[in-house]
Symmetry: C2
Subunit: 552 residues, 2 copies
């Protein structure tokens, strides 16, 4: 299906269009940008992970030249272990992302067979009809990059996840010069991060947080416990710097944080003075005012050290009055309640708690409105597609693009599976291709709209009642009174008499015409109807009712 | 248990201490402040409502002189239909709250027997040892009030839910003079609203929203649809004013909104020019630029008109390109995701959507930090108890009190069931009494920590597998192969072979020593263990497993 147009297809983002995976296609070549995983939303009961639907790519396996990773966050890399076994293509990634992906692939025993390649800013990669160049951006993980992709139709600029920080922790600023050069040479299409397109102004620099952390550590009279995202390496650096400044030792608590600190240190993304890091046991022996603990749990994860401490069920660590706890992160949407509860429980135990609402202990990693306009004005694209965000964020970003002068007809808000076809002079959204989300639950994967999830919703609401009817194969008579068992419905003491009444009612219904009804399906329908009516009348609830017939 | 001290006891607030119900006790007298309901949190699977535990009051029924309602919001009045049948005492309420409660009690067929009395600001009520006076405050519902309660130990001031608005819609400002007088005469204890104690500065006046709404309606070229809380009568007044100003008709959509508009209009809380209100049918015949629709759905409630329109499944109303939709409310914590999704779906259909993050179309009804300090400085209490808020809000409010000069030892952060004992010179938190939450689910009520909810959580996660073993009573032999059924576990086509293997494994396990095991409990344990191991190995999941044995 070679065409003379360039095709852009977001393949999966859970409303967050293009965040997790996009395809860029021209003639016989496809490059894939990012390969991320999503964490399930509240109503995806029991689902472990959400990955993009790659059936479009699998059908065009031979055309796929590479997967281009922009940075090391899970929502841009986490689906690789699920995708690579089905799509054997080279993966390009910045150095830190390369390191993190290697660890992950090793855990999945996929590292040997994977073709993982490291890129640095300025590298140029020829991939069929595409020439790809990576450029540096600032984000909440080191080594984040954007892409300049030369195509036969024109140049595509992809911002990656970015903000414009003139004083980042590692000194590596967003490469505005390279974007400006591309803009001056002519950009066909800009894809830009929309996560904070609703927010006016500029996102503050990491420097602000560094100063606030230093002050908080300096003021603390007891232990300091800092919690943040394990991938926010620059924040960990700031904590280490503050600890050093105030002559405290640092102990890292929790597996994912330890792992990331170790990798980052090995790869020189963290500068840790000799002797500063200590183990948790050693930290416990030091005077409280000489200790900083760094850990995860900023999202209220129930198994994290922070939440365990908040709930007084951590094996080694207890909150002590005089502790200062700093939540150097903001709750991801959906986590507000659990994070709030964690703060409450820390306060109850006498800790001082600093969090985003009451202190400047966090800034996020995405551009606000003025930075987004800056990106638009430097890249000066003919066409614009807002990416990375819910529909309202894309919509707000589209308005900004219109404000800086891009005509409405050249702005496209895409949804997963939409195919944008671009020529040097025009664009249109044509066909739709399969895209969206695949749920990973245990060892199974499912499409959306799965009946299992609908069932779980009913189970979660009113529980389940199973009614078992055993009949004699030969006579068709009931071999015993119908047995009723339940779960998640009522307390056992509430069910005893009630279930006896259900059993009698079912027995009566099945034998009302003098002989037991035959036909499994009919019997089950009758059992269900009888039990359901009686239970609703007596309890006001509608549990799931499962009739089972057994012949003996 | 008469004592010479005054006892203050928060009885239920779901972390939000004192929001929903508090008791004030002296000698042989108790007055109860508010009687609210809570909407269940996410993890309270299937729970309909949460009400306070009133066992402390029921045991002291004869001492309870009255329930004092501060305003008409559900979280201050909604438990009355559950509490009044158990606690037959007079209920005092401001005029609008009186009207709303009457409707609610009538629905529950409780109005006849209830002793409901109306109060106006300045009214003084003698209740045993207490003399209660209501005073006017501003809040997000008309006729909100605070309380000045004279007790033998000293004067208690309760702020109610309040903010300080110098230009409220109905012209009734918070009665700072009365609070100042009380302060000048001497206040023993101040109880004050902590909901927004984390927020610096002042809460903006409703006037700001009035102007923004007027501008939005003026600029709109098509229909305008405004959604807000049904109880936010002043906001509805602002919408009506804006509609009148721009010569549009107003149609009210949805039962709760219609009901509140009707009551408020009858009671003169809404001024609606003759001919301005039209029915939905009539509104549909008018040109779009002549119409304002007012409806609920600002919290993303799935059955609301707004959400139905957003999802394209409303019977009568469709979103049209050119519509302006105004969400004049902020999402209650926990509702952010569903509200966001509703905005997305409205935008997808071409509506312009104004919401809090992008326009000043809402301000909330609670005091921010400077207003809270004002309240503290006017009341000048000896003792302070922050109420209405999660622990972190109470804690932030306590810090403000300390900043304005109340000594730490005179500030008490209470939790439900804590008993604060006050004398004119000192206070201490002594014993704890039963308090907390009762869950209403269908026709049952439960305490917290209920096993049914734990079961529902497991069911929601991985579903349920029931394994049924039928044995011959006489011989103990299996009467048929074990039967395995499931729900919320795997798709039917995934289970067929798997469940046959489970059945065989269970059969083998039960007959492994040549004869079937006896003893129901042992059998069930064996069945559970066998099924559970096999299922985890083959699916990576841990469903709830219910073994059932039947003898025939």
């Amino acid at each position: 299906m070679a065409t003379a147009s360039l095709r852009l297809i977001p393949l999966g983002g859970l409303g967050e269009v293009g965040k997790n995976m996009m395809a860029l296609e021209y003639g016989h070549d496809i490059v894939v940008i990012d390969c991320g995983v999503l964490f399930p939303e509240e109503e995806m009961l029991g689902v472990d992970l959400v990955i993009p639907d790659i059936s479009y790519l699998i059908e065009r396996q031979k055309k796929v030249r590479a997967i281009l990773i922009t940075h090391g966050h899970e929502d841009h890399t986490g689906a690789l272990p699920y995708v690579l076994p089905q799509l054997k293509v080279p993966v390009y990634a910045p150095r830190l992302a390369h390191g993190l992906i290697s660890v992950k692939l090793k855990e999945h025993r996929l590292l040997e067979e994977a073709d993982l390649r490291m890129v640095t800013p300025g590298d140029t990669i020829e991939l069929g009809a595409f020439r790809v160049e990576y450029f540096r951006v600032c984000h909440s993980i080191p080594d984040a990059m954007g892409l300049i992709i030369k195509t036969p139709v024109g140049t595509v600029v992809h911002s990656g996840d970015f903000k414009i920080d003139h004083t980042p922790v590692d000194g590596n600023t967003t490469d505005l010069t390279r974007i400006a050069q591309a803009g001056a040479e002519g950009v066909l299409l800009l894809l830009s991060d929309s996560t904070y397109a609703e927010l006016p102004g500029y996102t503050p620099s990491e420097q602000v947080v560094g100063e606030a952390l230093d002050q908080a550590v300096g003021e603390a009279t007891g232990r300091v416990l800092v919690t943040t995202f394990a991938s926010l390496i620059s924040r960990i650096q700031q904590v280490i710097d503050a600890a050093e400044h105030h002559r405290r030792k640092v102990a890292v608590v929790g597996r994912s944080m330890e792992q990331n600190v170790e990798i980052s240190r090995k790869m020189d993304y963290l500068r840790i003075p000799r002797g500063l890091l200590v183990g948790v046991r050693e930290a416990k022996k030091l005077p409280p005012e000489r200790v900083v603990l760094v850990t995860t749990g900023s999202q209220g994860e129930p198994t994290s050290a922070l939440v365990r401490m908040a709930n007084r069920d951590h094996r080694d660590l207890q909150v002590m009055p005089g502790d200062t706890v700093i939540l150097s992160a903001s709750p991801v949407p959906g986590n507000e309640t659990v994070v709030g509860r964690t703060i409450d429980n820390l306060l109850r135990q006498g800790a001082r708690v600093l969090y985003e609402r009451v202190a400047t202990v966090h800034v996020h990693g995405h551009a606000s409105q003025e930075e987004l306009k800056m990106m638009l004005n430097l890249a000066r694209p003919r066409f614009f597609v807002p990416v990375h965000g819910e529909y309202r964020h894309l919509s707000a970003h589209a308005s900004l693009a219109y404000e800086v002068g891009i005509p409405d007809s050249n702005i496209f808000i895409l949804e997963d599976g939409d195919v944008l076809e671009l020529t040097p002079t025009g664009g249109k959204v044509g066909e739709s291709v399969p895209a969206g989300h695949i749920y990973v639950d245990g060892l199974s994967t499912w499409g959306t709209g799965n009946p299992v999830l609908r069932d779980r919703k009913v189970l979660a609401g009113d529980g389940i009642v199973t009614v078992i009817v055993v009949r004699d194969k030969a006579t068709g008579q009931l071999a015993s009174p119908p047995k009723v068992v339940s779960s998640g419905f009522l307390e056992p003491e509430e069910t005893h008499d009630l279930f006896q009444r259900v059993s009698s009612a079912v027995e009566k219904a099945l034998t009302s015409d003098g002989k037991p009804r035959s036909g499994g399906r009919l019997t089950r329908a009758k059992v269900k109807e009888t039990a359901s009516k009686l239970l609703y009348k007596e309890t006001g609830r509608r549990p799931m009712i499962i009739p089972v017939t057994i012949e003996v």
